[in-house]
Every structure is written in C-alpha cells, then in structure tokens.
Symmetry: C2
Subunit: 240 residues, 2 copies
C-alpha cells in the first residue's frame, strides 16, 4: 500500500519509536546516517521525519539532532491528530462495539439546514442518527448528513456497519480533509433518551465537515459524546 518511499520510511521509524527501539528523549540517527540506512536522498528522510514531527512523535533540534518525544498512552483515546472512524479507534483499542441506527431518512436541505451544515440549499441529503456502543455502554450519539450525489446507495444496513468503509472500499472515494470543531453543549432530551448521562447535564460535541479528493464537502457530522469516556488528543507546533 505505501508505495511512496518517504512513507515506508515514516512507518518504519514510527514503529521503532512506538516499540521504544528509539526511546523517549533519545536522538534519532542523523539524517546522513539514515540516508545510507534507507538508501535514499536526504530530502526523502526529511519528509518522513517532518511527518513524524507533525504527529508529535519527534522534535527536531537545529544543530543537534531529532529527539523522540513520543510517550505511550494508557487510556483509550480518540484520534491522535488524524481522521479515524469510530470502528477504527475501537479496533485499535481492542473494544467490542455496536451501532444502532435510530433514524435513517432522505431530506432536502432548507435554509436552516444549509446554514448549519455548510451544504448548499436544496441539496439532497441522507440524514442518519446512530447510537454507538462500546462494551455495551451507549457512549455516542452521531448525527450524519451525506450528500446523496457523492455517496449514492447508502442504506440503513451500511449505516449499521461502517459508512467510511463503504465510502472508501465500495465507492472508491478518497477522504482527504476534515475540519472539526469541539464544543460542550447542554444535554437535550434526545441525548438523555439514548445515552446514559448519569447526572452530567452536558456533552462533548464534535461537529465536522469532510471533503473528498474532489474538494467537495460531502459529509456533515455531529458527534455527541458522553463526557466521562471522551478524550481528544492533539499535537501542535508553534508558528513563529
């Protein structure tokens, strides 16, 4: 799958860092050393390393070397700076999951929907509400809208499994960029109906817009999370 050279190098380094062959706070081999190890140009090494830096695995220090700053995490967490589906992150954490589709409809975007989601007015959409269970606990209420023209043939059955799997494998569509916004909102009746909130009166809400490889926004999602099982991770680098 990774036919690009820099990517195989990236993955190899990442694996060695995660297995602590290159431990926390140590320096990676120098770029010139890695050039001979991987038999490639310095630019290719630099590309792989900068990808690692983006993901918060390493930090490069001018004149000194590239230091590993990755520390293994214990807790189940969502998305370390990438796009990952519910199912994928569950598998990564070895958890049992279930999904209930509580609503599946086809709608046309009116003014209000368009303003909220970013879809053009009059877009034909699938509207889906799902409850996500992890180890038999209802943790997430997902509201998805998909552009019918881009994601044709969506069914309730597919929604019960993994929509992303369908989109990528069946439709062969590449998902590229996702813009997300995290807020905390008051619980609604719907939330209380489907999720066990104990006595929390609010939820963590992630709303997102996803673009495909044609630059078309084809998905709007709102993920409403039960507060005590929610964790969102992120790495940032300062722009001078």
């Amino acid at each position: 799958m990774p036919k690009a050279k820099f990517e195989t190098i990236y993955k190899d380094l990442k694996k060695k860092i995660e297995s602590q062959e290159y431990p926390y706070q140590e320096l990676l081999p120098s770029e010139n050393t890695m050039v001979t190890i991987y038999d490639c140009s310095r630019n290719t090494i630099r590309r792989a390393v900068s990808e690692l830096a983006e993901q918060g695995y390493v930090q490069s220090l001018h004149g000194k070397g590239v230091r590993v700053i990755y520390q293994p995490v214990d807790q189940a967490s969502f998305t370390i700076g990438g796009i990952e589906s519910f199912k994928e992150s569950a598998v990564r954490n070895h958890k049992r999951t279930r999904t209930d589709v509580v609503r599946f409809a086809e709608i046309t975007a009116d003014e209000r929907v368009a303003a909220n989601t970013g879809f053009p007015v009059m877009s034909e959409l699938y509207y889906i509400q799902r409850v996500r269970y992890l180890e038999d606990k209802a943790l997430i209420l997902d509201i998805n809208m998909f552009l019918k023209s881009e994601v044709p043939g969506l069914t309730k059955e597919i929604a019960g499994n993994s929509i992303y799997e369908y989109i990528e494998n069946e439709l062969g569509m590449a998902i590229v960029t996702s813009k997300r916004k995290m807020t905390v909102e008051r619980a609604t009746e719907i939330d209380e109906k489907y999720l066990e909130l104990n006595d929390y009166n609010c939820l963590a809400v992630i709303t997102g817009q996803t673009y495909n490889a044609d630059g078309i926004m084809f998905e709007y999602t709102q993920s409403r999370h039960r507060p005590d099982y929610f964790c969102f991770q992120d790495t940032a680098t300062r722009k001078r």
Copy 2:
C-alpha cells in the same frame, strides 16, 4: 521576521485567502504560475502550499489544482490548530481581557505530581493558578506549572500579564511543540468558586505539555473552560 522565503509566501497566500481574494472553492494559481509570481523554485511554493493544507486552508487535487476550502468563522474561537496564548487569541478577536493570579507558589514535584504532569520527581516548579476574564466574564481557570530551571525569574506580575511573552521575548526561548488532551470534567468547588458556571455541572478541560527548542518539557498546563464560551478547532488529513 519571516526571513524564510517559503514563510513569506505562506503568509501572503494566507492573507489573500482570508481576504477572499482567493475565494472559497476556487483554485489557486498553478504551482508553475506561482513560481514566476514569487520568483522561486517549485519546491518552495510546494512547501508554502503544504503548510496551508495542514492548517485547513486549502486542499490540493492531483492533476487539477489547489482548492481553497477556508471559510471565515464568526464565533470567537480558540486556536486554529496552533499554539496560541489566551492573550493572542483575545487580541485576534478584538476582545478586552483581564487576568487574576489567585495563587503563585514554588513547589517541588512529589510522586503524585510527577505522575500527573510528566515532570521528573523532585523537579523545582512554579505553581500558578489564574482566572481569565474576557469582556469581564470569568471564563477560564488556568493551572500552570513551569520548570524553574528553564523559566527562571517568573513573578506574580509576569503571570498577571502574559507568561508566553516573557518566555519568548525576555528569555528568548523558542516554544516548539505542544501535546494537548481535551476532556470534559465535572466541576469542582474551585471551579465554582471562580467561574460563573450558571447551572452547568462540568467544564471543558485542556491539559497540555509544552516542549522548548531543546526538547525539554518545561510546562504543564490545565485550562478549565466555562462550557458555553469554549470552542476548539482542528483540521485533520487522512493518512492513507
């Protein structure tokens, strides 16, 4: 300030996108065109564009061009995928701010603190609690710990202004990487004492570790936000 060529190009493009000279959904000039515009190599252009893609401003489409996917935001928001201080984001949004330092102490990290923060046991630390006001509303309770050896001479007065300004301008230290974790937590008595939570019983909590240019973790922060004024933005790209 931006002495690097790719960075001036990056900033110029960013400005043109934000001012909608290059509007949403349009294509940027092709790489070869920009090579003649900015009088540089294609690599330099690509570097600038890939930076924009990382920040969610554009998306490049193989064989077609580079599409603008930036949309202006209305709401006051914190950090669009970067490291930004409270003061910086306030200024960016043209808001009036105030900071109350409610606690300023020097402590030594015991086992428990070390385990929570990631500092080594026995580290000498500054411990700071601050309440942040935006337009006279108490929005954030900040708990900071700084490594004394890396951030010497910190005072209550500096904490009342901007610690990052002190670190970067006075100490000349470069802040590079920040790892953050977002969760939602139940409100504590301290939270209720300092923040007006209305009847929210939880808060948005961002905990983070910051590394300087030497790869040393010099800061641990916990930012406890009043839910109704909290927004966190993020852009992700899918790794194939």
